[in-house]
Symmetry: C3
Subunit: 681 residues, 3 copies
């Protein structure tokens, strides 16, 4: 049994960078004391240690790291050991400039920043092999070693000659010959057909930017090349430490917490043993309610849980504010516990922080951390962290449990790339990820569990599948959708679906036949509205506002549930329902305000018995999420509001946080969270 | 007689890119069928075919083109054959990087995009000569050949060493010696005098940007070098096919449809046989009324008609939306016919589209086209195109007719360049083209024909000449203005007129003497206002708002028609009138809201009998434009509103569109257009 | 006695660029006439004359300059002679590209603009030595020579290999060894430790931007290297003309007139003999009142006066508008005299203009000047300039006098750099200079004299020292603050003070102990608010709004003057007072609206007897500033409003402007200024 298999605790702790404090032994000593006081048990080490591990080429220093790992091990802690490829030492950039990236304008970057390395450079690959191997050899058998943390937040691309050559090889491998490539990229347009592989270069703002197939393949290549680099990094590690699980930390994009845009994590997920990711919501901001944001946090955590259909790790989060939002506000009292519990509620087995101790200098010195510059256990943040540590210990029995869902929302990275790149519609209003968040919101409000999966997912387990705005859709996906509905599934799709195939080539001959069959209609035109333009639909006697997009539909077997009320397509269908095989397919032809989605999904949830049975009388701002283990359901009841709330539930149980019995009438203070263990046996 | 001379039909059709569909013979066949069904008769071919015509250096493939041209010829269609210089094949960029542009930062561009070629490169000129000659030799005598379409939408500049050398030669040719150049560029300022020609480089954001004479000469050079490239392209074509007319397609800038900013089309116009241009209004947008936009469409089409004082061609337009506006909304039913008729009303002999069939891939696949991806003749856009085709056949008798106007507005490219580059006033409020559109608006509202001409135009034929904001004005222009007024003309000028000569050097000794004489006043100061600053004038007892600019005037012979009411120049003149020789010169000293221009021009129109006699009781949103042929006047009556409208006219006639007799009381549905043939004989 | 020592007149005149007009002898002659008519006595010459002085390498032409200087001398004028390094001739850029800058992306700039020279280039230094020496030899003994004007508005940086090498030398000199540098820059963070000096490069947008110590040292180096270049320029000049004073013209940043951001003028000041600077307020703008802007003008002129604690020179200003504001509005009648007097009131001994005569061409041809393109003495601007010339003659007895102040505000360039670079808080709301302007405003409103000094200033002479937002504070500064308060001083500090030391490394162990002692409290957390977030404090029974920043304070000896009313720190202290030694230290824990600062400082001003005794009943929009000479106080009374104003003063006197006796009840027309000579003897 490895440490990973033996560990029964939920993980608490975070990124620990003792390499910044080697000259301050008193600090390192204090750290050990504070780790215990904060009930921390797991530390990620070495993410950016290369200049300490190998300060000069070939001169390695592991003594300091030995000491740190031993110390953590001695106090019963887990070490998540990172490979240091996230940043190179300056000597390497100086001696071997090829390790640095070349940007899309073909400028060789200078030494600096982090994540500024070429994924193709043979030299960089050789250097990372050497040091990774040394780390695996030295620490692979260390009893404290819990997991490998490969590099850090892989992202970005490189346009150097090595990468150009690899891109061409990738294309050759994909297309076989130039004829196929020219067909897929619609080569004759603007005379863009290639006559020799060597003519192909990566997209560039001073060169080619307009060929969508080209752009799409470049993004696919960047994902594949990043995975290839990752696989290169783990090769020896896997061989030397076959039982130690391996992860790398994923991310979200922007303060809206939409799925990371630059890499296809749907593809990357199968290469890691455990999903881990870094979550930084902008709590208490001034443009949305706390519940608005909490719903987005729910969405993306559900996505990460769904990736491998098992529990995952929060690898980084902040106990306070961050340093890179436009406004870096501190968490209000109570929010740290609440938001930590939300991670667990959605399937995380950890709450780890970036970082353990605030740096003293450079750009992240004001990023929230467990230990502040005051080095004190008396400040508010430290105390709230310690409280989370304590609570995590009380609830450790749920570790590893997985939450089932009957509703799936489909997020497709390639679709997102293609849609964003599409010239047409309106760039400002495409908003694919935000549209998914809006559809998700109904279920979050109603405490109905959701999975967020890719187009390739097995849909058979779901009662309801929601696939909005699948602008790029493969024939194969359409076939699987048809199978799913035929077999009794319920499918919802929307405007801007079914335009192009996997090469970003439009379907010819009208809306794809398979979609016509599933939905019993044909999409004839898509009207793109200006921001001030509004339309309307009447659904169940009530008016709902429409904006941005209106599909004009020609119905076949489908029946209309609602019509447009305005413009030249007034009185034509906008919301439709079609019985197909044993199932049902709904089509939402226009972008509506959220109130329509609420009314629409309420109907389906009722009909398909999707409602949360435990929540008798809920509250939209009180989120209830559960995890199951053996005969018990662990109900997380979370008040994401600044008001006192009350909800009614179907059964009583013990609140693991306070240890108190809770009856079916639950009262929650602002930001309060309960974890009620309910016997469902 | 050539096909061009024989053709009696108005042109209908557009850009046809069969080179994208050579692998789809069923599509090419369907095209022929749909061409007929849509009453299309003219197709522009080959704009971006170089990679199909010469897929490898020196290997030419014309068979496919032979077939297409034969097919079009057989069905009685016209071919407008393009030279392919708008985009190069990848092999050429790879083998001869000199054909690619160097941007102003002196970065050599990579292969990609289109229009990315150096206008000076000897190699590119050689390559285009070879293929143009082959095209002329092969198709010059083809009976379907109607016209040459040289390249596509010439634009942009190049800063490579060839271009630098050509710029220096151009300067030597212009100035003769460096003393003259240094004088013209005000060389001693900031030590910018040159001591050797080789020191001169083109303006650059990493070099010189602040010398206005330098910038102005560079823009002139870019126009001249573009024309030189064009002349190079047509040399052999002209020799081989002397009877085939030659054009290249011009453009407008931004969704405001202002004249294209980068090339002096006033100069370019004399080099083409027929003016043709590409017009893409953003109909149904949310920031202006339909009439607001229609007036701008009127303005720029009037400008293109005025360039050669004869009918012109719409070479590109869209039957639906485009793909490059911020919001790409589809045309509402009726708008396609209405907007097509507006082109003809202002002097076009065609309505051609970009493009015939929507591309399947790459960046323009969602640009509106006659044939959609559904390949159907049943959809709304195709039907509306076919309707336009039918209407064009009914009205073909007006082909070639030219509309006279008694009002001219002067648009001067060099003035626009110099004014935009001027450091002073306020960059955000200069708005030279928009100011001309505002002055034009009164005449459009009142259905009074206007020509839009350059400063060099012969003014003697006009009753009224409007020359706002001529910041840069040549001595010679002032003299011609003086002659015009002396001989009885009416001239209107405004604030920010008469500052600099053709070298962008200020006039010394006060406002130019010739202008002082014409207008009977001197401009003493120009006050530039902040956005929130307002002044006011009282004209004919009514107050009108002033913003942006206020000239302080010292009157001599002129009399004041209105004074300022505020600020330190309150009670001093702002609107003046001067009798000069047999004519009259008005000066508008400040920027006013449109209501003043209405009142002001109403007075002049009344006095000078400029009013449209046929329109007894018009409507500002119903535009009436006419073309004359023999004894008939063809009155286009166009309702650019979403309301039912009624106007009274002076005489009845047949509506060519419906074939019905119309009396003097005309009712128009929203977006309805009538074309009433009135016997004026 | 030198001309400088002998000159008893206040300086009036400005930048004179006859080198632009050498072909126009009639203009040069007219200039002499207009100089006299405008009562101008001082002219800065040669700022950009290099291409006229040395049109070809080694070929020098001084004849024209001889003539100009002789002419000015003959009419009794002073010449401020500039070295021409502000712009190079084109031949030099062409032959020696090393003289041009390399930008941070490592692109070599092209010839063009001005101020585009490398401060390290040996060749440029050699060339400037040669010409400076020639100027000093030729004109050093000329009786008209008043002062040296070195280069023009030094600014910007260069990243060429010479500069890289100099940066490394500067770092070696500062740190001695790499260990020290790595410690100061917090090297191990992101593996940024250096192992060899050669690895270090300047910050770059394509390289390193995130290491704050690195950025801060680069900015320090740029200041030092600029001063080094300046010292190189003056070496021979000083040797040849030891008695002629030397200056270079400083600047302000943005239309908000905040201290220039790119160079540490606090450091530069000790290298010039006389402070001179260029002041361009945007009078009559539409976003603030005239008094708002006048207060900012007061602030920065006070800063320049404080630099050497003596009178200074306005080297450039405009008699009308400029050409580089977003809106270039002309000065309203009266504003020129008023704003000119304000310069003198705050300690200037000059009002000099850029420029004497408007250029005819190139980018500054519409910048306001004494003589316009009309070459006339009859226009409004010329007459207002002549009026200023006349008034300056009437008040010359105040020349050289210095105004004492009991209040100091600390502006620290390094703090500004570090705070702007800090990642944390909120970038949009840091606003360090604007915060100082807000604190200054109370004193300006109340006509209380202020000095604006650096952290290094001797504080012992002040009754009140205001040091807001000293994010970066040296140990030594804290010690001096402690001494100052201990000895009876009154110190005010604020939120975001005391975070980092001079290396931008945070203080460890909590808020710095010295600050804790001075203020009797500890800062525990800083809450950064979103723009819509508001808090509140109650001070003396009145509520005041809080935004942007809230420090959470733990009081020790201090007592609370006001508490927060909202959020989780409601009822905790926000404004505190501490008795420390013989003095008092106030801490303002949150950013408030200005009304709080008014109430707060009113209390202190009352208690510390800081109020202006001469102003019995003032007006916030009427600024009173004074200069003292022998037994007299010269009271400048300036109405910065568009209304008639009345104030009461303590004693009567003669208004030097009108020559009239004024009693204690002063009435002022809009924009009127009085200069009342009061006998205090």
């Amino acid at each position: 049994m490895t440490r990973y298999q033996n560990e029964t605790r939920l993980l608490h702790g975070g990124d620990y960078n003792p390499d910044q404090w080697l000259d301050h032994p008193e600090i390192l000593e204090k750290d050990l004391e504070l780790m215990k006081k904060s009930k921390s048990n797991t530390f990620s080490i070495g993410m950016f240690s290369w200049s300490q591990l190998e300060p000069r080429e070939g001169e390695f220093h592991f003594e300091w790291l030995d000491k740190i790992i031993d110390n953590i091990g001695e106090m019963g802690g887990n070490v998540i050991l990172a490979t240091p490829s996230g940043a190179r030492p300056a000597w390497m950039s100086k001696k071997y400039p090829e390790v640095l990236r070349t940007n899309n304008r073909r400028e060789k970057m200078l030494h600096g920043g982090r994540h500024n390395h070429c994924f193709s450079s043979p030299l960089y690959r050789e250097k990372i092999s050497i040091i990774n191997r040394k780390l695996a050899e030295r620490y692979g058998a260390h009893p404290a070693l819990y997991m490998w943390h490969i590099s850090n937040e892989y992202s970005g691309d490189c346009h150097c000659t090595y990468c150009q050559e690899n891109f061409r090889l990738w294309l050759k491998n994909k297309y076989g010959n130039l004829k196929n490539l020219n067909d897929a990229w619609w080569g004759p347009f603007w005379s863009h057909a290639y006559s020799d592989w060597s003519e192909i270069e990566s997209p560039s703002s001073i060169g080619e930017t307009m060929v969508h197939g080209h752009n799409l393949d470049w993004k696919r290549f960047v994902t594949d090349q990043t995975i290839d680099f990752y696989e290169h990094e783990i090769k020896d590690i896997r061989q030397l430490t076959p039982e130690i699980p391996i992860t790398t930390n994923f991310m979200a994009d922007t303060h809206d917490l939409i799925p990371f845009q630059s890499l296809d994590y749907g593809k990357f997920a199968s290469h890691v043993d455990v999903i881990s990711w870094d979550c930084y919501p902008a709590w208490h901001n001034d443009w949305e309610t706390t519940a608005d944001l909490a719903s987005k946090v729910g969405f993306i955590n559900d996505q990460y849980r769904s990736m491998k259909q098992k529990s995952f790790l929060i690898m980084e989060s902040t106990p306070s504010g961050v340093n890179w939002h436009e406004v870096n506000k501190v968490k209000r009292p109570g929010m740290h516990l609440l938001s930590s519990m939300q991670f667990i509620a959605h399937g995380s087995d950890s709450n780890l922080y970036f970082q353990w101790r605030k740096s003293r200098g450079s750009s992240e010195k004001f990023h929230g951390a467990v230990v502040d510059h005051d080095n004190s256990e008396e400040n508010r943040v430290f105390k709230e962290v310690a409280q989370v540590g304590e609570v995590l210990e009380k609830m450790k029995e749920i570790k590893g449990s997985y939450k089932e869902a009957k509703v799936a929302i489909i997020y497709d990275w390639e679709n997102n790339w293609a849609l964003n790149d599409a010239q047409g519609f309106s760039n400002a209003s495409k908003q694919y990820p935000q549209t998914l968040q809006a559809h998700y919101r109904y279920f979050w409000d109603q405490d109905i569990a959701v999975e967020v999966v890719t187009s390739d997912a097995d849909l058979s387990k779901y009662t309801l599948v929601i696939a909005p705005m699948l602008y790029l859709i493969r024939e194969e996906t359409m076939t699987r959708f048809a199978e799913y509905v035929k077999n009794g599934g319920t499918l919802v799709s929307t405007y801007i679906t079914g335009y192009v195939n996997e090469s970003d080539l439009t379907y010819l001959g009208g809306w794809p036949k398979t979609l016509q069959e599933i939905f019993g209609l044909e999409v004839k035109e898509t009207d793109t509205l200006y921001p001030k333009d509004k339309n309307q639909l009447i659904y169940q006697g009530l008016p709902f506002e429409i904006h941005d997009y209106c599909s004009i539909l020609a119905l076949k077997e489908a029946k209309s549930l609602a019509n447009y009320t305005k413009d030249f397509y007034a009185n034509t269908p906008v919301i439709t329902k079609n019985n197909y095989g044993k199932g049902t397919a709904y089509f939402i032809g226009a972008r509506t305000t959220f109130d329509f989605l609420e009314a629409f999904y309420a109907e389906i949830a009722q009909e398909k018995q999707l409602l949360n049975k435990w929540v008798v009388q809920g509250d939209k701002e009180v989120s209830v999420q559960s995890r199951d283990f053996e005969d018990y359901t662990y109900q997380f009841v979370m008040n994401f509001s600044e008001q006192l709330k009350e909800i009614q539930v179907a059964s009583s149980g013990i609140d693991l946080i306070t240890g108190k019995e809770k009856n079916k009438n639950l009262q929650l203070q602002p930001y309060e969270v309960l974890l009620i263990k309910v016997n469902e046996g």
